[in-house]
Symmetry: C2
Subunit: 130 residues, 2 copies
DNA sequence: AATAGCAGTATACAAAAGTATAGTAACAAA
DNA sequence: TTTGTTACTATACTTTTGTATACTGCTATT
């Protein structure tokens, strides 16, 4: 049984579907996971650089989130035994593929905003003018 | 400027990209939004039926989440002036389109699980055998 | 008149997620 | 020897999210 068949099976069963979606949702939800993944995608690999690049994140949060992403198989942590020690965080193959999910989200978000809020903005402007 | 162009623009700018993804993420994150959307997709429309269909949700949470989804333009609430009063919640066009996002999440989730955890399971079994 | 169904609301509480602030350990350079 | 850099950890706190339990207002049925 391959993933295509599996996903077709799952789409027939609302309960399993929700569970499967939730697995993915848990990997990317929270305040900092997305900024971290985006930073890694842009080639930033080191703790300090991530700290500097992601506005307002604290070392505690960065450390916590990196651990979670590692446990979830989204990133890998490599220790370089140089002096001073150097540690690199990079996306796994799966981690890179998650861009497909993020792109789906951007596309839906823009389309949705187009349908929903442009109409509202026009209404708001119309009201404001009178 | 259409959505395709806009999304290409956004994909070049990590900060905007994160914001756009977050918009969508906020619509579906939390413990109950997905079960609610799945129930609506399966044709359940009434408060009581949603309460019965979604395991362990309280009326407070259902009410709160339905309001949020309505404000976000994902569902609409129709009041039928019959006796007794009847209220139907249904997905908007955008709400239905969100399935594209959920499908992307199922697909990534299955693929990721295939790559990551099957390997781990094999390792665990190997260890357990010796 | 009492009971039940529908569509919720009110209040108080518990748990999870995130923040603020300070500190550690290992080394290296001035 | 003090200062700086990297990669974090520790403790205490606040905010957000979700839970438990009870209640309301309306109508219909028995």
């Amino acid at each position: 049984m391959n993933n295509l068949e599996t996903s077709l099976e799952i789409k027939k069963c609302p309960r399993k579907y929700v569970l499967a979606v939730n697995d993915t949702l848990n990997v990317i939800s929270g305040k900092w996971k997305l900024p971290i993944i985006a930073s890694l995608l842009s080639g930033i690999t080191r703790f300090k650089d991530l700290l500097d690049n992601i506005e307002k994140i604290t070392p505690r949060m960065l450390s916590k989130e990196l651990k979670e992403l590692e446990v979830n198989g989204v990133i890998k942590r490599k220790v370089f035994d140089t002096t001073p020690i150097r540690i690199e965080y990079t996306l796994t193959a799966s981690g890179q593929n998650i861009v497909s999910v993020l792109d789906a989200m951007v596309n839906w978000g823009l389309d949705h905003r187009g349908k929903t809020f442009v109409a509202n903005d026009v209404k708001a402007q119309f009201k404001a003018q009178r």
